[in-house]
């Protein structure tokens, strides 16, 4: 408990990581505005490949969408040569967020304030009254258009997925993910053209890291998600695995679907309902479509992406930070262009499991807000992360919080905490 008297002025003890190493997480990382500001610079604008879009959202030259890297607004646009550009959505003149319409198709971008005009690669093309009017005013002689383009991100693409970075030096995506994570990534993105099925978006009153923790925590999935467990989609005694790259920054939760039955995995779950049946079983009629036995793989990719494959429902879940205690979760559901109509139907139907109204993910959005409410008033307290030990290693079961420890090992290194 934080029962000390209120202090004024700088508090140098407030931001010290507690004793207990990886098995403890201090609550101030979820509440402190200065930590949040540092995260924007070191994580989202640092050495990371942030997910921004699927190429299927931008099929034609000139197609663009608005999105975000961390909290920074960006425009993702396909140029006339077919290249993908990620541009800060901020006019180089006075900082106006110039692109308000999304999605769309454009030949150029013009800021509405003073009509500065940029090409699709962010180069400044024209400044009205640059030479003045009737020999009066105008830009100084030495003003160079080429010095005032939009801020451009580095871009990598792999099998239809687009990532962006502001860092000077970045490894390729393959090295960034590492061999184990690349294999999970390529399992869903195997080069087949993708088809976007639609969007869901929700604003959650919690710190963004709680979302990553949630997906890296299979312990909760086998307890909180009564729907998943009851219908055998995810259960503590099913063959499963928690895998990470060497740094712990990325991870994958892998499991295999079982039957609906009481077992050791449900014995300690007070809310298990063995006698529940779906009145319309079409909702849970998945077909195997990926090689191997896994029926669910939830992959988290630092710093802002969750790739969801649960049965036949596929989605990118992109995190957009909105301050220490708020983030937007943007879901892009997709399939493959080659899907037969009945597979598309199945994906759309199984989307009932996911999103703000999902039979499963409703629980997560609610719990994250409960967490934030519980934490908010106690920045000097700490959470316990000891399930499955106090270290970081890959496991072939789900009774572990190892991937949360791995995440924070990397987080602390990046943040210098």
């Amino acid at each position: 408990m934080d029962d000390s008297a209120p202090r004024l002025g700088p508090d140098t003890t407030a931001r010290r990581w507690p004793e207990g190493g990886l098995a403890r997480v201090p609550y101030w990382i979820y509440t402190d505005p200065e930590v949040y500001r540092a995260e924007q610079e070191r994580i989202f604008c640092g050495r990371s490949w942030a997910y921004v879009a699927l190429e299927a959202e931008l099929p034609r030259p000139g197609d663009f969408i608005r999105t975000y890297v961390g909290e920074k607004p960006v425009v993702v646009v396909r140029d006339l040569e077919g290249g993908i550009n990620v541009l800060l959505n901020r006019c180089a003149h006075r900082g106006v967020e110039f692109c308000q319409h999304a999605p769309g198709n454009a030949r150029e971008f013009m800021c509405p304030y003073h009509q500065w005009t940029y090409d699709l690669r962010g180069n400044l093309m024209a400044v009205p009254f640059r030479r003045g009017v009737r020999r009066q005013g105008g830009m100084p002689e030495d003003f160079r258009l080429e010095e005032h383009g939009l801020t451009r991100f580095k871009v990598v693409r792999r099998h239809g997925v687009i990532f962006a970075s502001l860092a000077e030096e970045m490894p390729g995506l393959e090295d960034y993910l590492g061999p184990t994570m690349l294999q999970y990534f390529d399992r869903v993105f195997d080069g087949r053209p993708l088809k976007v099925l639609g969007y869901m978006r929700q604003r959650i009153g919690a710190n963004w890291k709680l979302m990553f923790e949630n997906i890296k925590d299979p312990y909760h999935a086998s307890l909180l998600h009564v729907f998943l467990v009851t219908f055998g989609l995810f259960r503590a005694d099913q063959p499963s695995a928690v895998a990470m790259d060497e740094s712990g920054m990325h991870s994958a939760l892998v499991s295999m679907r079982g039957e609906q039955m009481a077992s050791e995995g449900t014995a300690e779950m007070k809310s298990f309902k063995a006698d529940f049946k779906l009145a319309d079983p079409r909702l849970l009629d998945p077909v195997r479509e990926f090689p191997g036995n896994a029926t669910v793989v939830m992959q988290t990719i630092w710093p802002n992406l969750i790739v969801q494959q649960q049965s036949n429902t596929l989605a990118m879940r992109q995190l957009v930070t909105r301050g220490p205690a708020k983030f937007d979760l943007m879901w892009t559901f997709f399939g493959y262009e080659s899907d037969p109509p009945e597979m598309t139907e199945r994906r759309i139907r199984q989307a009932n499991l996911m999103g703000p109204s999902g039979f499963v993910s409703v629980d997560d959005g609610e719990i994250m807000e409960f967490s934030q409410h519980g934490i908010d008033a106690f920045p000097r307290d700490q959470g316990v992360v000891e399930m499955g030990g106090r270290d970081v290693r890959n496991e072939d079961h789900m009774v572990t919080e190892a991937a949360i420890r791995g995440f924070y090992r990397h987080y602390r290194a990046v943040m210098g905490l």
């Binding site: 729907f227 009145a279 759309i348 109204s357 039979f359 409703v362 629980d363 959005g365």
Partner: protein
């Protein structure tokens, strides 16, 4: 011109529907639909672009019942209360037994220790049919305006 008696009948259907949801009599909700029905809650961006993903998709009354089962028994969420306001009906009779109805709606949500807030606002795009038991929904599509949902949307609208 729509017959005033029919207009009153439609008004009563939506008033009963809203009352069942606002009074938390969720088990009654599927009764407002015919067996072979369609219920969807769709963000406007998907609707306008012809993208098929819906937040809720029920393709039969039995799927509506499954939604009720989940809300009542498996979902974990904070307690809340609702208030529906439904207005500006447009009624177009395809036949005396098949009525295309659109209306605007607002759903207010009140959480524990919090103010009443707008949870969802949009329009209903409905197909109402006459059955031996009275008017029922054959299709009810809730197209909501905001890109973003404030956290979760658990109960039907």
């Amino acid at each position: 011109m729509v017959d005033p008696a029919l207009r009153d009948e439609i008004d009563a259907l939506y008033a009963d529907y809203a009352e069942a949801l606002d009074d938390n009599r969720l088990e009654r909700w599927p009764d407002f639909f015919v067996e072979d029905c369609l219920y969807k809650v769709v963000p406007r961006e998907n609707w306008e672009r012809g993208l098929p993903i819906a937040l809720m998709l029920c393709e039969s009354r039995r799927m509506l019942q499954d939604r009720v089962t989940a809300v009542r028994n498996t979902a974990v969420y904070a307690p809340r209360a609702f208030r529906h306001l439904i207005a500006q009906f447009r009624i177009k009779a395809e036949t005396p037994e098949r009525l295309r109805v659109t209306a605007n709606y607002v759903v207010f949500q009140t959480l524990v220790d919090d103010l009443t807030r707008i949870q969802n606002a949009g329009k209903y795009v409905d197909l109402v049919v006459r059955t031996t038991e009275g008017l029922r929904f054959k299709e009810k599509i809730c197209v909501f305006d905001s890109v973003l949902v404030p956290n979760s949307l658990i109960y039907p609208i």
